[in-house]
Every structure is written in structure tokens, then in C-alpha cells.
Symmetry: C2
DNA sequence: TTATTATTTGATCAATTAATCAAAATTTTA
DNA sequence: TAAAATTTTGATTAATTGATCAAATAATAA
């Protein structure tokens, strides 16, 4: 179990090793949520997992390897949650509504995971010192691509009017992200109201034809 | 010059001390922009300022004091830039347009300051471990308050239609912030196009009556 | 069973951190 | 000028960081 996953996606790691990795990742999420990225040292993570720091080093090549695994899992989870919900609708208009609602709902149901995701996206950097938020992860991209597909689909079907798809997608994601990260709005407007109002605002913006 | 500013906002610090503080803050901005908050140690900042680390400790009570000074200056600058531009317009519609354009333009003309602001807002925490982004700084609030005032003004004058002001403000700020922080959109759409499209989208969202 | 392999720990490593301090250098004051 | 106050540095502090290693423990295979 020396090697960190290089190429092999699914490989021959024992059940116990995979379970341990998962436990460590969960502890890392808790740590990020509680004390933030800057203070999230291996010893803090180990403390929350109830294990020694050396054990983390045994299961992960280095801290970057751990954070990478963490962010991959978090993005996979939120992505599949959102994409699954969206797939239930037929029309672009309905898909757009479900996209917004699901994106916001995920935060409400997974606050710690959401906080951890924010911490690592905004603070984490690759070994080459490139910020994660400038990277555009695959799973992150997946959601963005789906959003653009919905917008494009709506335009072609005549459900939506004319607008710049990249910018519109950015507006929608920005509005969702704003509620995720900024507590000011969170305190003033509850999740359901925000979702409903956002759907209404976006509907007007895309020029929905009843 | 032992004491760090506790209550005295403007006090009796020599010109040279103030100049030195400013130099240190500028070096801190450069450091945050170049290597990010996590790596921005006092020694890294001192290196870029061409001074010893002890000198930073002499002029600032501690690292938090420095970062606090830094974020205050950065927010003051961007706030006054935006508010000054907005004040040139008369109608709510024009103010809204200038607000969006000025907010985006500031990023284009001050990329390093913008990057530093992002780094510290998302990574910095108070001594009580509260993330800055959950705090709602005074100068940050200033801009938000002005935005809401514009939206409210437009509704009362009949320029805008009906919408939830808090949510609409959040959407607009989110769309602006998205372009600031996420490189994906930055690479696909240039600043001017984004500003123009965003104005167009928001105009539709607020329901502008020609 | 025994031998082999996988897992886990505690001790330890060098590096870096923020901060302190006495002494030196500089500037200001008298 | 000389004295006093301010500014600056280099050395040092204790604490923490991520990582390594040999030895101990546990699980698996023979």
C-alpha cells in the first residue's frame, strides 16, 4: 500500500485500507468544517479520526494526495446529487428549476460537506501552487456543462429567449455560490425562499415563454 | 509605537511609521497574490518588502493585526472606486449599470489587489476562528447597502418591476464575484463582454421598463 | 501451526512558523 | 552639539508543521 494512486483508478487495496482511507477523509471534512483549511493540520485530522498522524501518511502519499481524494469525493457526491435530480425533468424550463433547487438543497442537507468543499476549493493549491478555484475540476465541470446544456436546449426549443450562455451560466452559478458562502444572505433569507425567488429571477432573465 | 490600534482610529504615528506600515501592507498584497494565503508567512512578506520580519512585528501587533489592516484598506479602495462611479448617475437604471460595470472594471484594473482580497476573505479568520467571509465587513456592507438602495429606488420610481431585493442583490453580487474568482469564465469571456451581457441579463431580471 | 504480509504506533526528523529581545542604527528633540 | 526617542536588525525562542523510520501489532496465507 506504499504507492499513492497514480494511474490505477480502481486497484487492489484491501477492504480495511479503503475503509481507513474513508475514515480519514471523513475526519478531514470534519476538520475543515470546524477549524478551516489553514488550521487543518495532519495532527488535527488524526485527532478527529482517533488515530496517529503516521497512519495518515501510510494511507496517503502526502497531504496533497489526501486533499485531492477529499475534493474528488465531495465533488462527485454533490454532482451526482444534482445531476440525478435534473434528469427527472423533461423540459429545459423544468430542468433549470430543478438544477437551482437541487444545488441549493444540497447545501441545506450537507452543511459540513459544503463548508469543507468551500474551504478546500478556495484555500487548496496544487504542488505547483495553482489555486484549486482556478483549476476547474472534472466533476465541477460536469455540473457546469449540464447547466449550459440546459440553457442551450431551452434556446433551441424556443422555451428561452436570446442570451449569452456562458454568462448566464456564470450568473446562475454565482447566485447559488453566493448563498453557499456568504452568511449575510443566509441569515436574511431562508433556503426555500431564496430558491423560489432565484428561480423566478432566472426565469425572467432567460426570458421564459410561459 | 508599541500599541496596535485599539480604539484610536487616527492617532499620533509618525509619518515614517505610517509609510512603513503602508509598505508592509503593499508587500503583503504582493505576497498573497503570488503565493496565496496559506504560504504567506511573515518571512515571505518581509522578503518582498526587503526588511526583517522583526520589523513587521514592530509595526503590527501580530499577523491578524496586519491582515486586518490589509483587508480594511483593500475594501475601502474598491468600495470608494465603485461608489464614486455610481454617484455619477441619476436614474436607478443607470446606477445599476454603473454599479455592475465599475465592480467588474475594478478587477480588470487592479488584478493583484483583487486576488489578494479573495485570498484573505476566503482564508483569513479572526482570532476567534470565524471566517472573514462569514463576517460581513463594514466596507463590504457599504457596497451591498448601496446596491440594495439602487434596487429599492428603482422599484419605487417604477423603473423596475417586483422582485425580492435581498435575493436580487445576492444574484448580482454573485455574478460579479463569479467572474472575479473563477478563471473558467474569465478565459472564455472577456471583461467587457461579460459586463455588457450581465447588464443585459440583470436588466431583464429586474424587469426594466424601457 | 508458522511464515508472510499488511497495518499501526511512538519517536524523531529537519524545516518553518509567529513572536520576543537586547543591541545597534537612525532620527528627532533640546 | 548631546540626549532622548524611534526605528531596525540578527539572534533566538518555543511551538507546530509534514514526513520518515524501526519496531510492534494484527491479519492473512502456507
Amino acid at each position: 500500500m506504499k504507492e499513492a494512486n497514480k494511474e490505477p483508478k480502481e486497484s487492489k487495496q484491501s477492504f480495511i485500507a479503503e475503509a481507513r482511507r474513508e475514515q480519514i477523509v471523513e475526519a478531514a471534512i470534519k476538520t475543515l468544517d470546524e477549524i478551516g483549511y489553514v488550521s487543518a493540520s495532519l495532527s488535527q485530522i488524526a485527532k478527529r479520526a482517533g488515530i496517529s498522524t503516521a497512519l495518515i501518511s501510510y494511507h496517503f502519499a502526502d497531504k496533497y494526495d489526501l486533499m485531492n481524494d477529499l475534493i474528488t469525493r465531495l465533488l462527485e457526491q454533490s454532482s451526482s446529487y444534482i445531476l440525478e435530480r435534473v434528469s427527472r425533468a423533461d423540459t429545459a424550463r423544468e430542468k433549470l428549476r430543478l438544477f437551482i433547487e437541487a444545488s441549493l438543497a444540497y447545501q441545506g442537507t450537507h452543511p459540513a460537506r459544503n463548508a469543507a468543499l468551500l474551504e478546500i476549493i478556495f484555500n487548496g493549491r496544487t504542488p505547483e501552487n495553482i489555486p484549486y478555484y482556478k483549476l476547474g475540476d472534472d466533476d465541477e465541470e460536469l455540473v457546469l456543462i449540464e447547466l449550459k446544456r440546459i440553457l442551450s436546449e431551452g434556446q433551441q426549443s424556443g422555451e428561452f429567449g436570446a442570451f449569452h450562455i456562458d454568462v448566464m451560466a456564470s450568473v446562475i452559478q454565482g447566485a447559488i455560490g453566493e448563498y453557499m458562502s456568504y452568511t449575510g444572505i443566509t441569515k436574511r433569507v431562508d433556503l426555500e425562499t431564496y430558491a423560489a425567488e432565484l428561480v423566478s429571477i432566472v426565469s425572467r432573465a432567460v426570458g421564459i415563454n410561459i
